[in-house]
């Protein structure tokens, strides 16, 4: 248990088999550390019991930020700082000239929401250029699925359990 940091790699070559194996593993109360797949497997997160993402909530907040920035900026530049008469547009107050600012407000909202959300995604997923790949088996980017399970208790019993779930290959490795 705490004395070892061995993990078990069960490799599958079909996403339906993988989904079944994930459900069985959860039922048998083995702790799934990670699942590596070459493509998104629909419903995998639910089967693994992963909490829903809050990225959309972030995006909403970022959008509100963008809207505020645009409003503040246009008000500061066009109304407060130098309220010139440009082609007869009323620059007495923000609301009077607002239709002209809406395109900016809209684009800024989208810009902030999109970019900040993407950056949040990168940071939360720890993705950046020159990052060392964390791939345990190169085949998982092509046509294999790999489930990584923490080894607890009887190792050989676990291996036979995972072989029964339809794994094409089961390995136990020491994790550093």
């Amino acid at each position: 248990m705490s004395t070892t940091n061995k993990v078990l790699h069960a490799i599958y070559n079909d996403d339906d088999v993988l989904m079944d194996a994930v459900k069985k593993t959860r039922a048998a109360h083995h702790h799934i550390e990670e699942v590596f797949t070459p493509f998104p497997v629909h419903g995998l997160d639910k089967a693994m019991g992963i909490a829903p993402t809050r990225l959309a909530i972030c995006a909403f907040i970022y959008g509100c930020t963008g809207l505020s920035v645009a409003t503040w900026m246009m008000n500061n530049i066009m109304i407060s700082d130098w309220p010139q008469d440009i082609g007869g547009k009323p620059s007495f107050s923000y609301i009077q000239n607002m239709p002209a600012f809406v395109p900016v407000m809209f684009e800024m909202t989208v810009f902030f929401a999109a970019h900040l959300m993407v950056i949040t995604f990168y940071m939360r997923s720890r993705l950046w250029p020159f990052k060392a790949a964390e791939n345990p088996d190169v085949r998982t980017t092509d046509d294999h699925f790999l489930m990584e399970v923490a080894v607890k208790g009887d190792e050989s019993e676990m291996v036979s359990f995972f072989e029964k779930t339809g794994a094409v290959e089961v390995k136990v490795i020491e994790k550093h």
Binding site: A56, F60, G88, P99, A100, V102
Partner: protein, 523 residues
């Protein structure tokens, strides 16, 4: 099979009866002559108190009220407004608008003996110098007789007040007709797109579009009453508008009479309504035949029919919007108006599908409809609400930005006289839906969807109100007994027809090629 509950039946009949009584009341209480209008206006100026009435004696007070309606007069092209313009020999459009603002300034000068631009309506935003120039030019012919001006104003208000019950009926009539059209368009799109999620909802949509034939007939009758001069909703229909010798002559409308003439207008209406009803009739019939068939020939027939209908629909819809709504303001035009009207009733139609589905689901009639289907409908409600806002804003902002007098009067009358409905529609049709329906979980909760749907439907009723009322009743609008009763009557009729139609066929299509996929749809 669905069976209509007796409660629902009674409820809709009660709505219709109450609505009819209210509509009758509206027609009975509309003023019949100028004297009644004078009494109403006098009561109003007391009610509003202050500014106008106290400073001046009776006649000037009316003249001052004339300012407020002046902008509208120019735009709605009431005969009397054009009488004065015609006398002055105003022919070109831009000049026409200045004449109106000039009239306002001039009557102000002559009556109050002081140039008080602050008291003038928003038309005063146009350069003041121009006002005075034109005012000087028009002062004599237009205001030779203050009494005549007063009489003309009273007649103008009389027409507006007489239009009120008609316009109230018209808004409700076209609103419910177009809701069923929105559903029909959605239905056709789902057929053509071979959507895998919606076939379980086809019978619900067909049930809602069953209102189309009924609504069409009532609407056609209404159009015929307009053509028969029983009301003054469409100013371009007035006598003498196209006759240069008449005092009602309007050069602009006369120039458009090749398109805006009663026979052609009625023929177009009949063709469009016939086309829509034919598609509705045959798609339903063929769809039901598919249930009993042994192959998919009927399905393919509906597919082809729907594709053809969509082409016809988008053309007829655009022209319909010009004919039935834009021509109420025959001096004004907008190129994206057809799309704007479409977005308005399309989102209303989808909302109605969603609400009827939720109703049937909670009554236990739609076994295979799950929250994913509801979620998809809610996404459409959300998306098309934003699409409506996009078109609303595009139309408004382009006109506001360029501020060409010829076009901008449309929005000036709406912003000045319809401030709350005008902005309120944007809040109800955009701000509320975007904040409520943006959340994924909310899109699956019945009571939230019913709430958001009600807001959207009321919002789009107000949207149609905003399109139609300023051109017909101007600043005399009010959402009172005639307006609410008209809505109640058509709502009752709509519910009765729709839920009766739902009992006519099983709610689940049997042999639609996509029905299995739809039953197991999961998002």
């Amino acid at each position: 099979m669905y069976t209509i509950s007796s409660k629902l039946k009674t409820f809709s009949i009660v709505l219709m009866v109450v609505g009819l009584l209210g509509i009758g009341y509206g027609f009975l209480t509309a003023p019949k002559d100028i004297k009644e209008v004078e009494a109403i206006l006098a009561a109003e100026s007391h009610g509003h108190g202050g500014g106008h009435g106290e400073a001046h004696e009776a006649a000037p007070a009316h003249a001052e009220e004339a300012h407020a309606t002046e902008a509208h007069e120019a735009e709605a092209a009431k005969p009397e407004a054009h009488a004065t313009e015609g006398e002055a020999g105003v022919a070109d459009q831009a000049h026409d608008e200045h004449a109106a603002t000039g009239d306002a300034a001039a009557s102000h000068d002559s009556v109050t003996t002081s140039v008080d631009t602050a008291a003038a309506p928003a038309v005063a935003e146009a350069p003041a110098e121009e006002h005075r120039e034109v005012a000087a030019a028009h002062a004599e012919p237009a205001h030779a007789d203050a009494h005549a001006e007063h009489e003309a104003h009273l007649e103008h208000v009389l027409h507006q007040l007489q239009n009120k019950p008609w316009a109230a009926l018209y808004v409700a009539c076209i609103f419910f007709l177009l809701i069923s059209m929105g559903v029909l368009a959605f239905y056709a799109i789902q057929q053509v797109a071979q959507a895998g999620w919606s076939p379980v909802l086809f019978r619900v949509m067909e049930g809602i579009t069953a209102y189309l034939p009924v609504g069409s007939i009532l609407f056609l009758i209404f159009l015929i009453t307009c053509a028969a001069h029983l009301n003054h909703l469409f100013v371009w229909m007035a006598d003498g508008v196209t006759d240069p010798k008449s005092e009602n002559y309007d050069a602009l409308i006369a120039g458009k009479s090749g398109y805006l003439n009663i026979p052609f207008w009625l023929i177009r209406a009949v063709i469009f309504i016939a086309g829509w009803n034919l598609y509705r009739h045959f798609s339903r019939k063929t769809g039901l035949a598919q249930d009993e068939a042994h192959d998919d020939a009927n399905y393919k027939k509906v597919f082809k029919m729907s594709a053809g209908f969509l082409v016809f629909f988008i053309v007829s819809e655009s022209i319909m919007a010009w004919d039935w709504i834009m021509s109420l303001d025959p001096h004004w035009f907008s190129t994206l108006f057809g799309w704007y009207v479409f977005a308005s009733f399309f989102v209303s139609g989808i909302t109605v599908i969603c609400m009827v589905t939720l109703y049937l689901k909670t009554k236990g009639y739609l076994e295979y409809v799950n929250t994913s289907h509801i979620h998809d409908l809610a996404k459409f409600m959300f998306g098309i609400s934003v699409f409506w806002t996009y078109l609303w804003f595009s139309q408004f902002m382009l006109i506001w930005y360029a501020n060409i007098p010829e076009e901008v009067t449309y929005f000036i009358t709406r912003i000045n006289d319809y401030t709350l409905p005008f902005w309120g529609a944007v809040v109800m049709n955009f701000v509320f839906p975007i904040l409520i329906l943006i959340n994924t979980d909310f899109k699956r909760v019945t009571w939230i969807l019913v709430g958001a749907g009600s807001i959207i439907l009321v919002g789009h009723y107000i949207d149609f109100f905003n399109m139609i009322m300023p051109a017909t009743v101007g600043d005399q609008w009010f959402i009172g007994i005639p307006e609410i009763s008209s809505v109640l009557f058509f709502l009752g009729l709509f519910l009765l027809v729709v839920f009766t139609a739902l009992t006519k066929a099983p709610l689940m299509p049997k042999r639609n090629p996509y029905i299995e996929e739809s039953k197991h749809f999961h998002y």
